[in-house]
Amino acid sequence: MMIAVELGLIYAVMALGVYLTFRILDFADLTVDGSFTTGASIAAVGIVSGMPPALATSLALLGGMAAGLVTGLLHTRGRINGLLAGILTQIALYSVNLRIMGKANVPLLRESTLITPLKDADLVGTWASVGMFLAVAVVILALLVWFLHTDIGLAMRATGDNPDMIRSFGVNTDHQKLLGLALSNGLVALCGAIIAQYQGFADIGMGIGMIVAGLASVIIGQAVLGRSSVAIAATAVVLGSVLYRVVIYLALKAGLNPNDMKLISAVLVVLALVVPQWKGFARMGGFMRRRMTAMAETPLVEKEG
């Protein structure tokens, strides 16, 4: 159980990245499955080649930002629909990640990583390490909430909320999308880098389904806490990430096969989207459903405009 909470707090970094695109920019970014692995591979290869773990982890963050930038350029300059742009980058990253790692799996077992001190002190899965990961999540949460209240942050939020309006006040919405996608995938890759060190290896398949986990965290958390302000909505994401991992843990404990994890994730997201539409939840659920259908209905290639 403690392990599940701990994982939830680490994955919260990724979920906050997904929140930035999905909720703030109103952009369903599927780059995530690729950029998560990119972060893991850069960190793993860096550490194996003798880099200080902190440096390797920072490089991972930059690698994720570059991946987000590619999706952003495909979308803004190439005028490719956002969903498709993300999928294209994600697929391309699969090959890139294999190139970075040189093989499908890079073990870190005997390397010294950011997590090694925790492991050496035998703290993994204890209150102490939960507290540490909580501190990391809270710092990143606080930075994100602060950023979203700066002048640039306000412009980014308006880009997702009413792009025509913010353009009429002199903001280049394409730049905002590029910045948001870069930051988001930077966070996702940072999370991938930490997870690789935590579990002791990077693997080419470790990013599969990450976007669903991220969306699940955002949606579950906000179904519980709501989203009446940025601070509440972002805090909800961290909470949602923990809840998500705990539910998965309980499902496994109840006898479900680890191979069923992806199915459970998908079902969780569906439940979090559908259940709130019933009875007392009807109002909020309706809002989310409209968002999801609006997303599904966007054309695959956008007009020159």
């Binding site: 209240h149 700066t150 002048d151 640039i152 009413n162 025509d164 009429s168 006040f169």
Partner: protein
Amino acid sequence: MLTIENVRMTFFPGTLNARVALDDVSLQLAPGDFVTVIGSNGAGKSTLLNVVAGTLRADSGTVRIDGRDVTRMSDHQRARYIGRVFQNPAAGTAPHMTIEENLAMALERGRRRGLRLGVTNAKRARFRQELTALEQGLETRLGDWVSLLSGGQRQALSLLMATFSEPKILLLDEHTAALDPQRAALVTRLTAEIVERFGLTTLMVTHNMDQALKLGNRLIMMHEGRIVLDLDAEAKSKMTAKGLLAEFEKVKGDALDDSLLQ
């Protein structure tokens, strides 16, 4: 202050659906001019405003603001010179952001945005003061989402946001048309006050003859992509709503004659 020269704009050029929206339009506004624009549906009024704002690029012709050629600038680049209010009250504000956040974004019009907090106490004090002048009770609701406001309140807020950073040009496109008569009257009054207070050079599209006559110091009528009537302050003050309707009938009749002759 605003110079529009020989602007042409055709939608779907070279197709059966080709539609000339602006047919060689030229117009000059002196600083502080407040021009009301009338004309039937499809006359090209909105297109003209969009060409000035840069949301549409004209096929030919130039747009100059305060002597600067902005023809090739995109809409967000021109935004530093231009404030806009649209017909739809939802268009001018970000609904899931607070009133103070919306105002803070508007205050940064055209400036380089950085990592300073968008809403500060100093700004809040200013916002409260500006909102009080709107008489909508918004000054006590700075932290509310804009989506909670009525259409009239949103339009009053949009008007404030479009103007209080004192742009060189103000573009209003039927900004009172979606409001009930009482709210429309209020926003009309606010418009007159604000334009006067900041001395804004203004283009205002309206279908309301009385409003077109009451506000501003000049009136133009558009028809089929052309300016067919241009009244200066004096001619405008003598004009009546009835007179304008007669002018409408006249241009329509002329157009009809033309098409019959062809």
